[in-house]
């Protein structure tokens, strides 16, 4: 590294000045070794600073070792000989313990008489330890006397011998029933216990397997029965507290039969093959899909209904608003509002000059005038300008009759360029989807409206637009009808199938049916409860049918058709009500 002298050499400074100045660093140098030697990486970092100390002092953090343990002399240990208090045979084992602790224990147990020569194992006292006695737990077992057994616990299926054997196993394996069953191997010793047919108790009616190969459920049933009986014997039912009674109830309610069935089902569930599991997965996703489609359909239908439903006129409620309770009234109100707005906007036509004019008048108001009339006029002017910002422009208002006569039309907004009325009409015929367009065309054709209307005036366009929107409504409603019809058919078919299954013959006449919506709900419930593959398959097909063309399915079954007809009439009624009121939505859309 370049020293100061080198630098001076490079700059050609006189060496003499060097001699005079060296005194300063020299004095500094003795201080340098005084500062603590930095070690490791920090030292190299410090070296980069050069000769000059850094502006900020670098401190190496002291490594914090744990303070040394103040151990003192080595602790002494004793190989203690001990007995475990949980054992009755006095087995002596040995383990290592701290001497002080051990001495304390020995003093406790031997009334302070510690023999001096404790190090030698032969004379070492044996201490008794209870450290792990708490792990030596015995299970609670029901107990009974011979008399009690004879009076209450007899069973046709269980000998006394086997009952005792069962109880001993339960005790040995601490109620671990799978283990008890696993080890259960009762060999009736010699002559079987006398099986007197005494009082036939509840157990004898239980469905025990006639063979002696007991199932877990048999064992449990016997044991629980004994426990319950003994419990009742010891504490009369009325005296049991809540907890006891609960236990008693569960003991009594144990039903080996249903348990066995449950277990069989569980085993069957586990033993399904890969294909079955995959199929179930597939069906479940399918079910989910169907459910989603159904709920979507529901939502759509609800929306439609909400739109179709008219509030019931209630004159007593709010007489002032009565006129707005009908949709026709509302429509009128709406039209009124629209017209108002139109007028407003029309009035605002050329706003800029009015604004300036306004400004000038207010300015004029600021100047003192003597003419009282002029001042009045100005004040009035100001008032109107405040209430209605755009002052009326000098446009001659035509009466509606005149407008009609001269075929004058007003527009909110004018698109630039020229457009043809026929284009407009053509556009109206087109819906979003091709299918819909075709359907609209078909409907129009049915109404006898030619594709090209010869004089497409704006009024014709207006009427045509109304017509097309109505046609759209009609098509909507028809679609819904078809869907519902399809659903009804599915339900009918399912019902018929079910009845056929129940009666063993095809059902001819069904009971009165609710509307399709509730039926659909019932159907979904059924599906949810019994996700059996066949049923779901039926459901799936039904859904497809519903999606398909309704016309093809016409006349499939008598009841199906009649149902469809009834639905369709209902639908038609509704569609009529729709048609009576021009949809606000469609007008809005048209405006845009």
């Amino acid at each position: 590294m370049a020293t100061g002298r080198d630098v001076r050499d490079i700059f050609g400074l006189p060496a003499g000045s060097d001699a005079t100045k060296t005194a300063v660093p020299k004095r500094a140098k003795p201080a340098a070794p005084a500062k603590p030697r930095i070690q490791g990486v920090a030292r190299e970092v410090a070296a980069l600073y050069g000769e000059r100390p850094p502006p900020v002092a670098v401190y190496e953090e002291k490594k914090a070792y744990r303070p040394k343990r103040n151990t003192g002399p080595a602790k002494q240990w004793v190989e203690e000989r001990f007995t475990n208090q949980a054992r009755s045979d006095g087995l002596v084992l040995r383990h290592w313990r701290r001497k002080d602790e051990w001495e304390k224990l020995v003093a406790q147990q031997q009334d302070g008489d510690i023999s001096m020569d404790t190090s030698s194992l032969e004379v070492q006292p044996i201490v008794s330890r209870s450290d792990f006695v708490k792990y030596n737990v015995e299970v609670d077992m029901p107990t009974f006397t011979d008399e009690e057994y004879d009076a209450h616990l007899r069973s046709d299926d269980w000998s006394r011998e086997e009952t005792d054997y069962l109880l001993s196993l339960v005790k040995d394996y601490a109620y671990r029933w799978p283990v008890i069953w696993d080890r259960y191997d009762f060999q009736p010793g010699g002559a079987q216990g006398p099986q007197e047919k005494g009082d036939s108790n509840a157990l004898s009616t239980m469905p025990f397997a006639p063979t002696k190969a007991r199932t877990v459920e048999d064992l449990k049933a016997r044991f629980y029965d004994i426990s319950a009986r003994l419990m009742r014997l010891r504490i009369p039912e009325v005296q049991m507290d809540a907890e006891q009674y609960q236990l008693y109830e569960t003991l009594q309610k144990y039903n080996p039969h249903s348990e066995r069935n449950r277990k069989e089902l569980a085993a069957a569930l586990m033993n399904r093959s890969m294909d079955e599991v995959k199929e179930e997965e597939f069906l479940l996703t399918e079910l989910q899909r169907i459910n989603m489609a159904a709920s979507r359909l529901d939502a759509e239908r609800d929306e439609l209904r909400a739109r179709l439903e008219t509030p019931i006129p209630n004159p007593g409620n709010a007489p002032g608003l009565q006129s707005f309770h009908t949709s026709a009234g509302l429509q009128q109100l709406f039209n009124q509002l629209v017209a108002q707005e139109k007028n407003k906007k029309k009035a605002a036509g050329p706003p800029a000059p009015g604004g300036r004019l306004n400004l000038s008048t207010t300015e004029a108001a600021g100047t003192p005038t003597t003419n009282g009339q002029a001042a009045q006029q100005l004040a009035a002017n100001r008032r109107t300008s405040m209430a209605q910002p755009p002052p009326p422009t000098p446009v001659r208002q035509l009466s509606p009759q005149a407008e009609y006569r001269f075929n004058v039309s007003t527009h909110d907004r004018l698109t630039s360029g020229v457009s043809f009325g026929s284009d407009k009409l053509l556009k109206m015929r087109q819906a979003k989807s091709n299918v819909q367009t075709q359907k609209i065309a078909a409907a129009l054709a049915e109404l006898g409206i030619s594709e090209i209307i010869s004089i497409p005036t704006s009024r014709v366009a207006e009427v045509f637009e109304q017509l097309v929107s109505k046609v759209g409504k009609l098509l909507d409603v028809r679609k819904v009808r078809e869907k519902e019809e399809g659903e009804c058919r599915v339900l009918e078919a399912m019902k018929a199938q079910k009845e056929a299954k129940e009666n063993g013959m095809p059902a001819v006449e069904g009971s009165g049916r609710g509307n399709a919506g509730s039926a659909a709900a019932v159907k979904r419930e059924e599906v949810g409860e019994t996700p059996r593959p066949e049923e779901m398959e039926v459901d799936g097909e039904g859904e497809e049918d519903a999606d398909g063309e309704a016309d093809e399915d016409e006349g499939r079954s008598k009841r199906g058709t009649s149902e469809a007809v009834s639905t369709s009439t209902r639908a038609r009624k509704r569609s009529a009500s729709v048609l009576s009121q021009a949809s606000t939505k469609s007008t809005k859309r048209a405006r845009k």
Binding site: N84, L91, R94, H95, F132, Y135, P178, L269, K278
Partner: protein, 471 residues
């Protein structure tokens, strides 16, 4: 003072209280012994032993060094029968005692007649420059070797009553242990993995066993075993070698004096040793098995599934995978392709096993998936999902590459609707010695003190106490 007082054990959960018990886990391949509380067995010695029928009476040679030392007329034997039960109790006793005394209880236990026995050995017809530092001869001791230590022994799940009674008799009468207990390997292997319940799949040397365990108790009806294990895989490799073109010769290490490197597939160029009189043929067989174990460790691979090797394009896929090279002790070497998958396929698919006149096709119900199936079918239906969520894998042969992948694939195919989980210790030691480690944990628990069968109890009730207490 922040110094930890070591005499106050962490309260509550840890209930260790070591009483310097010894845990003995005898297996067909190795016998493991060590002090309870330690994490690996200190003494792992081969269960194979050397036997020389000399003029001065039969000689028994125990320990790794002795049985690999090519001596004249040396026979290699195993006290175990093929079904996983001890056949030759006398020798087994000696061998186990050797396993315990040679490394654990130390020379303190050796009887004074020991030196004379050594001399007797020396005068035997042994090769003087053989590397037999550790070669020892077990001797009947007058002083009992286990007088200070309680003994926990392991047993297979199907151990018959007679064998269990024999075990306690040996421990009490011959070894003089103050307390004894027998526990099943399956339970202990589960303990080693920290499980009290589960289904234990143990693929050892002589047999494979499947043991359902619930709360530390074996569900006896579910215990399954089969002879398809490590030895079976070894014999499969032998068959594969025999069927190879040209036939692959296994030359054990002891026959090779020096070798030179040769190209893959080229005949070996080695200088061989000769022995006169040669060791018994069983010696050579055992030494060959050692080579085969090397082969198993480094080459053999289990086809990982999800389906059997024979299904569909699997063989083609297996063929397209890069092979693995193996070099015999004599320098002969080759890259093994699909063959390496075939050696262990028989464990899972009986129809894929190599067969010849002496080695018939194994039974279908002996394959591992079928064993698990049978085991599960004979336990309570409610326990099955729980057992399948705790599949503990242990035993040396489960170290075969990709073994666990295949096992899981097979189980998932059989039980697609349960959550099947394999628990396999990652370290080799823990996998091989799981039963011993479980025993080490069990015997060092304070709460286990109550379970020991004491000498007094044994004297009172006789040998059948083991049936009552070790359930």
């Amino acid at each position: 003072m922040n110094a930890l007082n070591s005499s106050t054990a962490p309260a509550g959960e840890y209930a260790g209280d070591e009483v310097s018990a010894i845990v003995l886990d005898p297996g067909y391949n190795t016998t493991r012994a060590g002090f309870a509380g330690e994490d690996v067995p200190k003494s792992v010695c081969p269960t194979f032993y050397g036997y020389i029928d000399s003029d001065s009476g039969p000689q028994y040679l125990f320990g790794e060094n002795a049985i690999h030392n090519p001596q004249a007329n040396l026979q290699i034997k195993n006290p175990w029968g093929a079904d996983g039960i001890v056949e030759d109790w006398d020798t087994a006793t000696k061998l186990w005692q050797y396993a315990i005394t040679s490394r654990l209880t130390g020379p303190r236990e050796r009887p004074p007649i020991r030196s004379s026995a050594n001399e007797q050995n020396g005068s035997g017809n042994r090769d003087p420059d053989a590397m037999d530092v550790d070669v020892e001869v077990a001797v009947e001791s007058t002083e009992k070797p286990l007088e200070d230590s309680p003994l926990l022994m392991t047993e297979p799940g199907w151990n018959p009553t007679k064998a269990r009674e024999k075990a306690i008799e040996i421990a009490m009468e011959e070894w003089g242990t103050p307390a004894f207990y027998l526990q099943k390997t399956g339970v202990l292997a589960a303990f080693a993995s920290g499980k009290a319940s589960g289904i234990i799949i143990d693929v050892g040397a002589s047999h494979t066993s499947v043991t359902p365990v619930l709360d530390g108790m074996v569900l006896k009806k579910g215990v399954q075993k089969s002879p398809l294990a490590g030895n079976f895989v070894s014999s499969q490799i032998r068959l594969l070698f025999k069927q190879a073109q040209p036939e692959i010769q296994i030359t054990p290490h002891y026959l090779v004096k020096s070798k030179t490197a040769v190209d893959a597939g080229a005949p070996a160029q080695a200088v061989y040793r000769s022995f006169d009189p040669p060791p018994h043929s069983s010696f050579r067989h055992h030494e060959e098995d050692r080579v085969l174990t090397e082969f198993k460790e480094s080459v053999v691979e289990v086809w990982p599934g999800p389906q059997r090797l024979s299904v569909g394009p699997n063989e083609e896929i297996a063929k397209s995978q890069p092979g693995r090279p193996f070099e015999m002790p004599d320098g002969w070497n080759q890259v093994f392709g699909i063959e390496r998958f075939k050696a262990a396929e028989g464990l899972f698919d009986a129809s894929a096993a190599q067969t010849d006149a002496e080695h018939p096709r194994p039974k279908d119900e002996h394959t591992i998936p079928k064993l698990v199936q049978a085991a599960l079918a004979s336990v309570d239906a409610d326990q099955r999902p729980m057992l399948l969520a705790n599949i503990v894998v242990t035993g040396g042969s489960t170290l075969l590459y990709k073994f666990n992948d295949r096992l899981l694939a097979e189980l998932n195919a059989m039980y697609p609707s349960t959550r099947n989980k394999i628990i396999a210790p990652g370290s080799i030691v823990e996998r091989k010695y799981a039963a011993w480690i479980g025993g080490s944990i069990l015997a060092s628990l304070g709460s286990f003190h109550q379970l020991w069968i004491s000498k007094k109890e044994y004297e009172e009730h006789g040998v059948n106490i083991v049936e009552k207490r070790c359930r």
